[in-house]
């Protein structure tokens, strides 16, 4: 019984972390059809920038916001400077975002060295919480709560604001969005900023669990892909459900079928792509 | 067997809550020129798509010369003698006109699996491609790339590709769309010259050309057949005015 409860909690906590990782990826992918392979790099950069801020004495949450803004700004620059000209050129986008991820990885290594950089959770969230006789990390519950808050915020943004309406229109039909007078280029900049901001923020929030280390980017990017494939591209509920699904598959899968740990996430991804390529909540079919 | 070249028998198709085609029946005799008219969104192209096999009707049957083809894949229908042109041009822009027609010929004649011999060296096929182009007045342009041709020439290329396949039944989706008066006249003359062993079903908004061309006319609205008859009957019928003008 305890196994099921604690692994469920693990799954939910990991799902929260994955949502912070993949929400931005899904948004960019859905609206702009850009498979942003630099997303893992942006996430890692966020973690490093957050750690640096904290070393300067900035409190955790402020550091997270600062890292999000910094990474978001970088994302906007990259979108405006490089990716915008590649609109519609899928291979070009793949190549450019991969190139960016190479450079981010290399410069992070140059700047922060190879050793892992720890990020400490806020002191009050550090001690484990005792639930029915067993301990569970308090911070992970906080990550879950924070992810849900972010999800709610994003939902409000998408459903209740004019920007959100434009984004939704753009995801559903770009030609139509353009024809009703939405300035798509500014919308794209805004979305790329938002996506990159979420990546940077997620890097810091995930920091106390993952820490910042070389290779964090390549460890995380496939997870974001799996989430988005399972949940469906460009769908916020999809990203949320996909994140929790991946959390559940990973935690229970590795616990119950340890021999499949290396492929546990990609087998469901293959199955989903073969059975329903648009994902659970996908509105975009191709 | 059947006296009909194309027989659409009571087909219906729904997309979500929307009925795109409702109990449509269409019987086209061999050699007939049939015109489909109706306002935008009446379901004309949707009907074409089902005849061509882009998607399957929810119910009903489609037959070509009495042969059942309701659930056959498109490529089989093409081999049975069905060809189609598109309202929105779908050509291969970086290739020559000759190459475009050759692709059409490969589609019906096979030979597309050959991986070694050069397509350009298939002289017989190239000659027939040139013939098909000459038949629509593009004989001189065979070696040009599609990207370097005019819109009117592309319309005619569409026609050449369909005719090259020697279809028994030809579906023409607005073959005159977007053409100038001169070009329209050229295409009209071409259509006139298509031999009567080809049955034609055409969607067209240019009533001057279309009405003169058609033997029988079917009026569609909201996915349903409103009425069917000869030129004179359809023009005379008050329902035609109703559909087009709304009361």
């Amino acid at each position: 019984m305890q196994f099921w409860i604690i692994q469920t909690l693990n799954s939910l906590a990991m799902g929260g972390l994955l949502f912070l990782l993949s929400a931005g990826f899904s948004l960019i992918f859905g609206l702009m059809r850009i498979p942003n392979l630099a997303h893992g790099g942006l996430f890692m950069l966020g973690a490093y920038v957050g750690a640096m801020c904290m070393q300067w004495g900035v409190p955790f949450w402020l550091a997270a916001i600062a890292a999000g803004l910094a990474v978001g700004a970088l994302g906007t620059v990259l979108e405006g400077g490089l990716l915008r000209r590649m609109a519609g050129n899928e291979q070009g986008q793949v190549l450019i975002t991969l190139g960016i991820s190479f450079i981010i990885a290399d410069l992070c290594l140059l700047t922060w060295g190879g050793d892992p950089v720890p990020l400490d959770a806020p002191r009050m969230l550090r001690p484990p919480v005792f639930l029915a006789g067993f301990a569970f990390p308090g911070y992970r519950l906080a990550v879950l709560a924070f992810a849900l808050i972010v999800a709610l915020g994003l939902w409000l943004l998408l459903e209740r604001t004019r920007l959100g309406a434009m984004i939704r229109a753009g995801v559903d039909d770009r030609l139509m969005a353009r024809s009703v007078g939405i300035r798509v280029s500014r919308l794209f900049s805004a979305v790329f900023f938002l996506g990159a901001f979420l990546a940077g923020l997620g890097g810091v929030i995930g920091g106390p669990i993952l820490s910042a280390y070389p290779g964090l980017d390549t460890d995380m990017l496939p997870l974001a892909l799996v989430v988005v494939i399972l949940g469906g591209v460009g769908s916020l509920p999809g990203a949320l459900v996909g994140s929790f699904l991946v959390g559940i598959i990973y935690n229970f899968g590795t616990a119950l079928f340890p021999d499949f740990a290396y492929v546990i996430l990609f087998l469901p991804m293959v199955v989903m792509l073969v059975v329903k390529p648009s994902g659970l909540f996908g509105r975009v079919t191709r | 067997m059947s006296h009909f070249a194309l027989e659409v028998d009571d087909i219906s198709k729904r997309f979500g809550g929307l009925a795109a085609t409702r109990n449509v029946t269409l019987r086209v005799k061999p050699g007939e020129r049939r015109l489909l008219i109706g306002p935008n969104g009446a379901g004309k192209t949707t009907l074409f798509n089902q005849i061509a096999g882009d998607f399957l009707p929810d119910s009903g049957a489609i037959r070509l010369f009495g042969q059942e083809m309701t659930r056959l894949p498109t490529k089989k229908r093409v081999r049975m003698g069905l060809s189609r042109t598109y309202q929105i041009l779908t050509l291969f822009p970086n290739d020559t006109l000759r190459h475009n027609v050759a692709l059409a010929l490969l589609g019906t004649e096979g030979g597309g699996w050959s991986c070694w011999s050069s397509l350009a060296a298939k002289r017989d096929m190239m000659a027939r491609a040139d013939d098909a182009l000459a038949a629509v007045g593009l004989g001189d342009a065979a070696g040009r790339e599609v990207a370097q041709t005019s819109y009117g020439e592309r319309r005619r290329l569409e026609l050449a590709m369909a005719l090259a396949q020697k279809p028994k039944v030809l579906l023409l989706d607005e073959p005159l769309a977007g053409l100038s008066a001169d070009e329209r006249e050229t295409v009209r003359a071409l259509l006139e010259h298509i031999p009567r062993d080809v049955t034609i079903v055409m969607i067209e908004h240019d009533m001057d050309v279309a009405l003169a061309f058609a033997d029988q006319i079917t009026l569609l609205n909201f996915g349903q057949v409103v009425l069917e008859g000869t030129r004179a009957e359809v023009i005379a019928d008050p329902r035609t005015r109703e559909v087009y003008l709304g009361h």
Binding site: F3, I6, Q7, N10, A13, M14, L17, A105, D106, L109, G113, G114, D115, P116, V117, P118, R126, P128, F130, A135, F136, P137, Y139, R140, I209, L210, S211, Y213, P214, G215, T218, D219, M220, L223, Y250, N251, T254, A255, P258, A261, Y262 | -
Partner: protein, 415 residues
Amino acid sequence: MFTLSRRDVFKTGIGVSALALTGRAVRADEPLRIGFLTVKTGPLAAGGIQMEQGMLTWLKLNNNKIGGRTVELMVADTNGVPATTRTKTAELVERQKAHLLIGPLAAFEALAVADYTESHHMPTMGLAAFDEGTQKGAQKYFARPTASAGQASHAMAAYCYSELKMRRMAVIADDFAYGHQQTSAFLRVFEDMGGKIVQKILPPLNAPDYGTYISQIKTDLDGIFMGFAGSNGFRFTKAFFEYGLGGKIPLTGGLTAMDEAILQQTGEDAVGIMTANYYSAAYDNAANKAFVAQMNKDYKADPGYYASGPAICGAVLDAAITKLGGKVDDPDLLINTIRSNVVENTIRGPVKFDAYGQAIGNIYIRKVERKAGHNVNTVIKTYENVSQFWTYDPVEFMKNPTYSRDWPVAKNLEN
């Protein structure tokens, strides 16, 4: 560009003709060319950068001389990809005419170049810890002054059983060869002495999070042995404390579970963790004191597993080449001298080699202590003259399969 290629042609010409005449005869005042295979880009770069720092520091302390000859250190970045390692090795050997090689970092890299270096008679000082290198796959031109993957684990197992009186333990390690070999070595000695390994957990190398694994750990254990590499020991330990297990079950580990490279980051959570290694930054001899001081000065870091290896190579090479009077042109003589020498004062203490090219030396049991806000791996027990075969007979030992995921079979697992 043109001059470069011409010079290369020229060099090649000399190299070929020289080889034809005398094997590898070259002018005596020529520097000693050491090819140094490390990883400076990509996810494995952390260890690779420390390797280079360790080498540079040792050379600095020794006036850039080995065996009286000036050293030309040729550093190659393998990116941690076996195919690149192979190409870089060829570059060092064929283009840059290295006299000997140090490295590479990872086991799979070493395996990718093993046949090449052997067939080119290239003396290679191995650093990667993999058992094959000095056991069934032992090679003539290979010597490893550090440790095989299982070498330190044996000692840790003995310590856990005899000194800590542990009887029920769990092992957890990265699911790849290095992790398998460390835990299997531990399991063998621990169970041969009478203990029981009741749980074996192997998370994937790239596990995003250890929460799910930590939740599975049994609560009635005497201790846990960790066979982690890179930063995983640090991440596991942090999660272990997050889940409230810190201090409840003693943590022990192999070579890299609590390396100096991750020791500071782990903070107070690391205190009390016991690991076995051939080296400790806190080991007390003159060579090591100077080495650690210089590392602290230049890089503000304590040397650990990765930085110490090249420094030990330096000392071993220095002794051998001094003995040869600076002559390194005969690869057979060089490697034989390296392997037959006994070197007393390396930074890990005395080093000698067994018949398979693996160093026999001290294995230290180290316990993390916190001194003035700084973590140190204090040596609490020294096992002297530890062979890679522990106390087993080498021939008998090698009749068994090489340590792996599946051997020895863990017979006492409870589920």
